[in-house]
Symmetry: C2
Subunit: 356 residues, 2 copies
Amino acid sequence: MKAVILAGGSGTRLWPRSRLSRPKQLLDIVAKNTMLQETINRIQPLISQRDIFVVTNSAYADIAAVQLPAVPRGNIIVEPEGHGTAPCIGLAALYIKRIDFDDVVAVLSADHLIAKAAAFRQALVAAEEVARQGYLVVLGMRPSSPQTGYGYIGRGDLLGSYNGHQVFKVAQFSEKPDRETAERYLRSGSYFWNGGIFIWRNDVILEEIAKHLPDLHRQLLGLEPSLGTEKWEPTLKRIWKGVADETIDFGVMERTDRAAVIPVDVGWSDVGDWATLADLLPADRENNVVVGHHVGYDTTGCLVYGPPQRLIATIGLRDTIIVDAGDAILICPRERAQDVKILVNKLKQEKKLRYL
Amino acid sequence: MKAVILAGGSGTRLWPRSRLSRPKQLLDIVAKNTMLQETINRIQPLISQRDIFVVTNSAYADIAAVQLPAVPRGNIIVEPEGHGTAPCIGLAALYIKRIDFDDVVAVLSADHLIAKAAAFRQALVAAEEVARQGYLVVLGMRPSSPQTGYGYIGRGDLLGSYNGHQVFKVAQFSEKPDRETAERYLRSGSYFWNGGIFIWRNDVILEEIAKHLPDLHRQLLGLEPSLGTEKWEPTLKRIWKGVADETIDFGVMERTDRAAVIPVDVGWSDVGDWATLADLLPADRENNVVVGHHVGYDTTGCLVYGPPQRLIATIGLRDTIIVDAGDAILICPRERAQDVKILVNKLKQEKKLRYL
């Protein structure tokens, strides 16, 4: 089995730790290792590091290579610019086609957390079997709360049981639901979070791209002859300019009739914002999550995240996020964690580039 | 006229800027100069710098001397330890007695703000005249709001008019009132904030200390022979250990029948905590007071106080105080500004000495 790691994200909602020059996936946000390193570590020994492909952009390629010394430098694929997950996955498929045209590929995000690594590998083994038969497999994360920030997958007919996992046809992909719908999904037991983890045969995904995204497929074929030659970079640069933005979910998964879902419980989180991170980390007796040095008086439900040598002192705070990244500090209510994106845009507009 | 500047305070409620090693009065909290320097500047040219005496403790004496190059080093009086304002004022009175036993002395705090310096000097000129006649004069700050954090002075009979100021006998000193009482005081027009600014003849205050604080007076007499000799320091150290804690307000002013009050409107503030400071400084369009570098989204009524090179970003905050002092950051609601003192005590208890 091969792995394709999508590592080109910008992680703006974890500003000010996640920065343009070093985003979330290249940082030790949750564990001692970076999220990219953790992503690779948790699929060991299932997938050899020689079979791991990392798709990122030119700004992050060198840092990724340093963080992953056992991944061959030639497996770090550089996109000239991002156009969503579909072109990204297509590009990696070209690389893999040359080596092992019909091997199974697991597509993973470099900036997600999966707390139960052993259970996750078990699920991948099951998914590999299903994928060998030509299915486009997606892992369905069993929901623990009525999240409105995730896409959902509704299960259809049972396909069978593999490596202890039930596998279903996908009945429906649905975009981020409203609260009421999310609650109905949760109660039904038939809907799962779409964590963006896909397992398929490399030849199958290329066929499906050909069928549902013919323009992209043509562009990939145009690229193919120059792969591995000195013409690669200029050709990629030229063709990539013409590639349309598209996600694999919308472009392929919602259109194909070969989608299968494996419901899993692997402790998945996209660590999408500071509030999500606060939910993941253990809280102290006052229900505060502290990374760094905090002295609080009448303070509860807060995330206090800073370097160990700086004291963050709080009085009378409730459910507040405080993140000290050295040159910049963020303070916002926990329920406003999503708005960090707006703030980062404001910094962009105000040309405060050193803080991006 | 002479001046005695009380400069031994610790200013803990302005933590984390005000620190044990460099408290409020030695910092440029409000203006470009330090509060101590501003205190001296605003009485120029009324009182020559050679006639200014600064009472502080050994930890602050050298910094005070550096900040006040025109004040003779011998006029910086070092208390071995603080025992409240009464002993402090008595000590300065000993120094002045040697030079000019019955000159008028203005007692000022080194860590208060007086926005209207010219009006203040006018009031001092009036107070000097009244003091020459043997009164213990206190300036009464005309209240602009029903503050419950200050002591009040109730005026009695009119004594006369001096340099454009009405002067009254003091009818009553009253401690920090409750809200209802403070509102009644404000409406009456007969009550004034006690800003701790006193003007009296040096011989008169010593007489009053003898009358109302006989123990302290005996201790001061015990000190007198060694003043100016090499025995001064060991004698002071020995005697000062036995001195009881006492304020001049409670120990003398509330007991004497020679107290007079001059109501003034000089823009006085004790800059007692961060909320008070926020009230004093100009706010921007979003009603935030910013000293340093702030980017806010949906943020109003906040004080953002930090060094210029660090960005403080806020989302969805209301009436919050944020103070970044480099090695320590404070975040608290504006209405909890007084509780900074509790937090500093907590730091003391937890032996986090480097942050005190």
